[in-house]
């Protein structure tokens, strides 16, 4: 079972975002970076499948030099090989352009399953996994929270609005991971040391502009100044009155 995991290096979830004076990009100089949370579930699923069924895990990451830390983490958490598609200023790149670059690289690899996080926490697009699958013309099951592989087939479940679905497809396929799929491991010191010996294949690539242009980046509109209605159950009557008469939501 050969597995490709697509990962992205993103600003840590605690990070405060500062928009630069160009009005279209953010100040990355003070940011702490981390592996995209949903990609950690994809990576863990790949590692578990490999441990069960054998084969190799290849991590592929498109990003600038900061992404090296994420790639090293992949190598310490179950990936055997890593490919770094080095593209500067690619954080907010058009999802289609990113998917084409990933697909272009993945098609040279012999794989059974591609695993991606369902979305990255910077662009929040929820697109790249589905795009890669369609470009490679393989089936895709998105937002999976359970995977079982048998006989050249994958069954996976997911929660949609008001229901749980179980889908099935043949291999090769692409799956996107939802939180809850597993508990990502922390690498041991030994894993980290071993990972240092593994090779990271670096390839410089150029991304074209794509069909979407970011015209501006702004802070979200501030919320209205709130008020403390009161303390304890005594404040409830006033709260209900405000919700009915001022907010008109009850």
């Amino acid at each position: 079972m050969n597995i490709v995991v697509c990962v992205k290096n993103v600003p840590d979830s605690e990070t405060r975002i500062k928009i630069l004076s160009d009005g279209v990009s953010i100040d990355e100089s003070m940011i702490k970076f981390d592996t995209n949370p949903h990609d950690e579930y994809a990576l863990e699923a790949a590692a578990q499948l490999k441990e069960k069924l054998g084969g190799e895990v290849t991590a592929i990451c498109l990003g600038d030099d900061n992404a090296t830390s994420t790639i090293k983490r992949c190598l310490a958490c179950g990936a055997d090989n890593a490919i770094h598609l080095v593209a500067q200023n690619s954080r907010m790149a058009d999802s289609l352009v990113v998917a084409q670059a990933l697909a272009n690289e993945i098609k040279n690899i012999s794989f059974d399953i591609i695993l991606c996080g369902k979305q990255s926490s910077d662009t929040d697009s929820h697109l790249v996994g589905g795009l890669v699958a369609q470009i490679l013309n393989i089936p895709c099951i998105s937002m999976v929270n359970e995977i079982s592989v048998s006989d050249k087939k994958v069954a996976a479940s997911r929660d949609v609005e008001g229901a749980k679905e179980i889908l099935e497809c043949s291999l090769p396929c692409l799956l996107t991971a939802e939180k809850g799929l597993n508990k990502p491991r922390y690498p041991s010191l030994r894993d980290i040391m071993k990972a240092k010996k593994k090779e990271i294949k670096r390839k410089e690539i150029m991304l074209n502009q794509g069909g979407i242009e970011i015209l501006s980046m702004e802070y979200p509109p501030p919320r209205n100044e709130g008020k403390i209605v009161g303390e304890g159950p005594e404040a409830v009557s006033e709260l209900i009155k405000l919700l009915k008469e001022e907010a008109k939501v009850l």
Binding site: D124, S125, G130, S142, G211, I212, N224, G232, I240
Partner: protein, 322 residues
């Protein structure tokens, strides 16, 4: 500007997002003197498609086929993308629902165009379509324009208003060409949720609990309030990671982004990742015994106190008033 919208239905019922995409499509086509086409895909759905006329869908294309009874992503994507190729609209609107999240990338790749997801505002400026989309988990908003046609866009559910504008629609059935290759993914089983409560992303009101709840059985007080209000029940990451609620109930950065009219946060401190998921709620109520909890900074109304005293008092008050 010609606009084509994907009107989602499941089990023969139109979803709320269907009315949302039609309403947005109607207002944009009215503004630009364009033509609006709504596409609905499924089986035995001709009757429900008419309802879209109430919201201004003047042209409705129905892809009705037994093989499309259940949502099979690849088959739906094939059908929708061939309709788009045929109609050549300027803009295509999807909902950013589970179905839309599956369909949009697949359709965009088939058309070879870029797409903008989870938009909270769509406007026409100098004859061009401009979308506002939250990025960095809602910490910034990007305004984007398109250089490819069609502009493929998905709309955040529960964010755009539904406007009635009755027309008598032209309903046309489209011819469907599907091959076995379009069914590489199949639905094995659909288990409907036991709960009658609305889904978090569609709910008008959400009652949510965090670490302050203290255990799975203690969520019953929030469930009681939710049922009284016809609300959904949500949870913070710590409540989910503690095993008190299932993952699908999680609100926040690694959970769901929600946009209800009213979000009642009980025993939720308001970590930055949780706030990211509720920033498009219209009103936020916070009930917390810690005056310093960051949730009070974003709440419209706050009550400082023990939620196990305050929530029963709310239930009592709501039951007493006719």
């Amino acid at each position: 500007m010609d606009i084509l919208v994907f009107a989602e239905q499941r089990e023969g019922k139109l979803k709320k997002t269907a009315y949302e995409v039609v309403s947005v499509g109607r207002s944009l086509t009215d503004e630009s003197n364009g033509k609006l086409t709504a596409v609905i895909v499924g089986y035995n759905i001709k009757n429900i498609s008419k309802e879209l006329g109430k919201f201004g869908a003047s042209n409705i294309l129905v892809a009705d086929d037994e093989r499309l009874d259940k949502f099979v992503p690849s088959a739906y994507s094939r059908v929708v993308s061939s309709i788009i190729k045929n109609k050549n609209p300027d803009v295509v609107l999807f909902p950013f629902s589970s179905m839309g999240k599956d369909l949009m990338p697949s359709v965009a790749a088939r058309l070879g165009v870029s797409a903008a997801s989870d938009c909270t505002k769509v406007e026409i400026s100098d004859g061009e379509i401009i979308c506002h989309r939250p990025v960095y988990s809602g910490k910034a908003v990007a305004k984007v324009s398109f250089s490819n046609k069609p502009a493929v866009i998905s709309l955040r559910p529960n964010t755009f208003s539904i406007t009635e504008k009755p027309v008598s629609p032209n309903i046309t059935e489209v011819e469907i060409e599907l091959s076995p290759n379009d069914f590489l993914t199949i639905i094995k089983e659909i288990v409907s949720a036991e709960s009658k409560r609305p889904d978090l992303t569609e709910a008008d009101i959400i009652v949510a609990g965090g670490r302050g709840i203290g255990g799975s059985e203690k969520f019953s007080i929030l469930e009681e309030l939710a049922d009284l209000l016809g609300a959904a029940v949500g949870a913070s990451r710590s409540a989910v990671d503690a095993g008190w609620r299932p993952q699908k109930d999680q609100v926040g950065q690694t959970g769901k982004t929600v946009s209800p009219d009213l979000y009642i946060a009980c025993g939720i401190s308001g970590a930055i990742q949780h706030i990211a998921g509720i920033s498009s709620a219209k009103y936020i109520v916070a009930i917390n015994n810690d005056t310093e909890a960051p949730i009070f900074k974003v709440a419209d109304y706050g009550i400082v106190g023990d939620l196990f005293e305050v929530v029963p008092a709310i239930i009592g008050e709501l039951k007493n008033v006719p």
